[in-house]
């Protein structure tokens, strides 16, 4: 970038960017934790209780099969949640940061 490059440190400290990082970061942390925990529980049940995993619950499907299927359902739900929040909230915050950058970023910060 040339001399009119945005002041990255100032943009990084700006209110909309901090809000964006806090909100999106919180979702990403909780969603990753939920995803990886449910993945670990699936494997733990297979390893520790194969007989339980092999128990038929409904329509010929075993607990293990349904736990596997629920991995897919959780993935779909988290994806849907992320996209919804992105479009409703985070896009607007991203736009605010881009506008700040276009306006020459927070002037109170020394370069």
């Amino acid at each position: 970038m040339s001399s009119d490059a945005p002041d990255w440190a100032a943009l990084q400290r700006s209110a909309p960017f901090q809000q964006l990082v806090a909100q999106r970061g919180r979702f990403v942390r909780y969603a990753s934790a939920a995803l990886l925990s449910w993945f670990a529980i699936f494997l733990a049940v297979i390893g520790a209780a194969p007989a339980v995993a092999g128990t038929v619950v409904v329509a010929g499907m075993t607990i293990g099969f349904l736990l596997g299927l629920s991995q897919l359902v959780l993935a779909w739900l988290l994806t849907w949640g992320y996209l919804r929040l992105s479009n409703r909230r985070w896009s607007r915050l991203e736009q605010s940061v881009r506008e700040l950058a276009a306006a020459g970023a927070a002037p109170e910060v020394a370069r």
Binding site: L11, P50, M61, S86
Partner: protein, 518 residues
Amino acid sequence: MNATRLIAFALIVGLTLVVTVWASRRTHSATDFFAAGRGISGPRNGLAIAGDLMSAATFLGFTGLMYLSGFDGWIMPAVTLVAFVLILLLFAERMRNAGRFTVADVLSFRLRERPVRAATAASTVLVAVIYLVAQLVGAGVLIRALTGLSFTPAVVLTGLAMLAYVVFGGMLATTWVQIIKAVLLLAAGAALTVGVLVQVGFDLGTLFTTAAANSPAGDAYLAPGGSGRSFLDTVSVALAFAIGTAALPHILIRFFTVPDAKQARSSAGWATALIGAFFVMTAVIGFGARAVLPAEAADAVGTSGNLAAPLLAEHLGGGPGTVGGDLFVAFVSAVAFATILAVVAGLVLSASGAVAHDLWANVIHRGRTSTSETRVARIAAAGIGLVAIVITLGMGPEFNVAFLVGLALSVAAGANFPALLLALTWRRFTTTGAIAGIVAGLVTSVVCILLGPSVWPGGAESAPYPIEYPTLLAIPIGFLACWIGTVLSAERGAERSFDELQVRSQTGIGSEQTPVSH
């Protein structure tokens, strides 16, 4: 030889070559060649990403494993979607915002460019070539089984088609071949699924109970243990598919083909939806093949299980020797063939980007124009493709490729994933940390494979590392090496550029924006 199937294969090759000619007329700049001019829309890119994952290994392999070992075959499709959620949460938008053509673009943003590019390019090329050989061996065996064409011409024909797409049509041709294949594969999957459901009267209870009754294992067919894998093997395989898939270079570079971050996340969303739906279908097809196929089909399916889906198609179409059976199996076989063609093309493209954009343009010859970068990329693609074809022919059809997939996913999970994640999220991360992580993940994967049951010369029983996939060790060692390398180095420059990378990668400021045009 089977004429119907050969004609179906020829139609697929013809159609994809027409696409290649069309794409080659639109491919001029490096952005065209590596990133399809950044003109692919989110839903189309989502289809292409889904196509990259839905390889012959997932379509024929997963259904075959469910046919053979029941529940144990279901574990891999059940966990693989984790990788795509991780991609959406961690990588999709950031890759698009902060990179241009390769994974190394994102890593070298705040780290010292030359060593990081060289290390990342090496691991990208390694993953691509290993995966490529695994796919090509599989292709040769599969085409031989489906059409009667022998191994060598099958591999050579597949390899030449793959080279044509990449060398002439670049990312645009590769993406459209992938989209066409994904649509065909989803259609074939849906047709097989509906066919199975009709046979069992749309009753899932009948489907699973009949499958268990038909299996030699009985009720144990629906419980863990059918594959004879140890628990640590299961965990390693699950980690390879859940984490390794998230850092496969040929999947990550797809996010460079969309106009902006919004389209990047939309493509990850489409991919998650489509791949999940596809996996549900593979379950119906895999368990359904066991429920619907007659007992004597077990021999024809083989020990790899790869022919379960084609045989199911033949059965549902009316049985062997009938026109319906012949047509349905020809369709499913042609789709499997298209799948191989599309996936190998994507792999060659990712490796050629690493060679031309990372090694040649930014490490060896810094500051040349992008026109020569594209020329080098075409030459690199041809070279890598030819090397892979020669290795494949040298290994021959009897070579067991399962451990190659394990090695590729393990290098991705242990070498690429930790370095990429930490470069994007850890302020303190340094060049030394990244290099240490990449090298440690790579070396651990290779050593564990060499000491493991698939390769150890003393036989599987006496192998010093008793687990087939190295991921259980490679992922923690990759992260640990990143951390140790970082805390031991005195480098501080990377912290300053962290603010810039954060703002750029999370908002898209300064990234190339282009309208959708393809």
